[in-house]
């Protein structure tokens, strides 16, 4: 057997893990999981809160825009209504004065 084969056999030989390796490994995995979960939970909560906030602000803005539009339309209709009423009143006054001047 060549020295190379000996070296390979030695390197690839099955070795049992040190005692307690599996417990240590599982324990570490568990501890990593415990550390990452709160982080993920907080990230998700903040993301959700931000999304709700943005959606709320968007809805509020849209509602405000609708109210502004409705108010402007109402104001314009009021002005138009009073324009018509005023012009008819003035016309009647003018007619009355014309008759009075005769």
């Amino acid at each position: 057997m060549s020295p190379l084969e000996d070296a390979l056999r030695e390197a690839l030989a099955r070795r049992e893990p040190p005692a307690g390796f599996d417990q240590r490994l599982m324990s570490r995995i568990a501890s990593e999981g415990d550390r990452s979960r709160p982080h993920n939970r907080h990230t998700r909560r903040w993301a959700l809160a931000a999304a709700v906030l943005l959606a709320g602000l968007g809805l509020q803005q849209a509602h405000r825009q609708r109210e502004i539009h409705r108010g402007e339309v109402a104001k314009q209709r009021l002005v138009t209504a009073l324009e018509i009423a005023s012009s008819k009143l003035q016309h009647a006054q003018k007619r009355v004065l014309e008759i009075a001047d005769r």
């Binding site: 108010g71 009021l78 009073l82 324009e83 009423a85 009143l89 007619r95 004065l97």
Partner: protein, 179 residues
Amino acid sequence: MKKIFAVVILICLPVAGQEIKVPAGFDELGAKAKESVNITLDRDTLAMAGKFLSGDKGNDAKLKELVAGVRAIYVRSFEFDKPNQYSKKDLDAFRAQFRAPGWSKIVEVQSKEDNEHTEIHIKKDGKQIAGLAIIAAEPEELTLVLIDGPMDPSKLAELGGNFGIPRIEMGPKVSLPKD
């Protein structure tokens, strides 16, 4: 002389518990009219419009003061291509409602030359004017205006020159009866 026909109706004033109504026929006139205006401003709409009137000074302040306390404003105005498109019967029915207690006709102008008829009715509540109605009828134009609530006609006429409303120069103002 160019004929101008206009009718303004101020609609729906409660008269001694009786609500003034525009005959249904008038609401169908829009289809026949060359131009029409159909405005109904109820209390909520007036309140909303009021929020967009700055009450400090200027035209908005005048408007705000003028409509303070007004419950509703109704305007129907139609201009037609040809004469006699509206029903005289409907107009008479509308006019008849102002014979109810509380209402009085303060102005009636009839021009045979222009075939024009204008009436102004007011409703009194004590010394206060609690309603105003204008009917302006010409062969090709009909306008009905009804304002439910306190409204000073002289202040309404003074709006001329503001908001794009043309001011008609007419010399001294006609004093409308206060009592």
